[in-house]
Subunit: 122 residues, 2 copies
DNA sequence: AGCAATAGTATACAAAATGTCACTATATGC
DNA sequence: GCATATAGTGACATTTTGTATACTATTGCT
């Protein structure tokens, strides 16, 4: 059962997929975009801890990988909207599975599941 | 629509999950272990491109996260076997989903699915 | 005696990812 | 005039990740 090509860069399909969503903030960005189009600062506010710089970079990489669409409106206070592409949508189930897994298996979240009134996911 | 805690380290459950399998080789290691217990060098041979050091590190981190079990046999030529823990098994579906996604959406694999017999690339 | 295989560790270093901080431009509100 | 908000960019520092190489110890093979 050979699963990997001899010695290519994205060693495995698994690796290739992780290259795409493995960035520190990419998964979270994708998750938020699952809920619909978001503006830059809107995303930023949803992700405390991310810096402008990092958010920009992660979004650009997601855009380069064809998962996210970037729409710029030439308005007076600049407006840029990010949304999932069709390809990005194909990751929906995986992102949701990762979220579910994190909630039950990452200590911090597993704990908060025990008593904290969880806010909705929609 | 608050999905993230105020400003905690593993920003989101999604992020927490990716922290765990996001390492460069972790996904692949997990994938190989899905097929059963493997010895150190066995894994190494399955993953051309990984160095001894990196494989050791990734395995130790997976062990620390409770996903992988490390069994050392005090034998003459050392033998160490790695296997998934119950917690590691909970990632099975996600790993397989990542693999499937990679196969259809990562250019390199999407191509090889079409019949390109690229078994040699130096 | 010399070599390979086992599963690593130690050291040194290079590169990539991530992070901080300051800065841009324009318009509105005070 | 100054602060705010918008969506960034540029220089730089740090952290993480990765590489190369040599080294450990034991035993079997030749």
């Amino acid at each position: 059962m050979n699963v990997c090509p001899p010695n290519r860069s994205p060693g495995c399909p698994v690796e290739g997929a992780l290259d795409v969503i493995g960035g520190k903030w990419k998964g979270v960005v994708m998750f938020h975009l699952l809920h619909g189009t978001k503006r830059f600062n809107e995303l930023r506010r949803m992700m405390p801890g991310v810096t402008q710089r990092m958010l920009t970079r992660q979004l650009r990489e997601l855009e380069a990988d064809g998962l996210v669409h970037r729409e710029v409106y030439a308005e007076v206070p600049p407006r840029v909207e990010y949304s999932l592409t069709a390809k990005g949508e194909t990751l929906r189930d995986i992102i949701l599975a990762l979220k579910a897994w994190g909630e039950t298996h990452v200590p911090y979240y597993a704990l908060s599941k025990l008593g904290v009134p969880e806010t909705e996911t929609a």
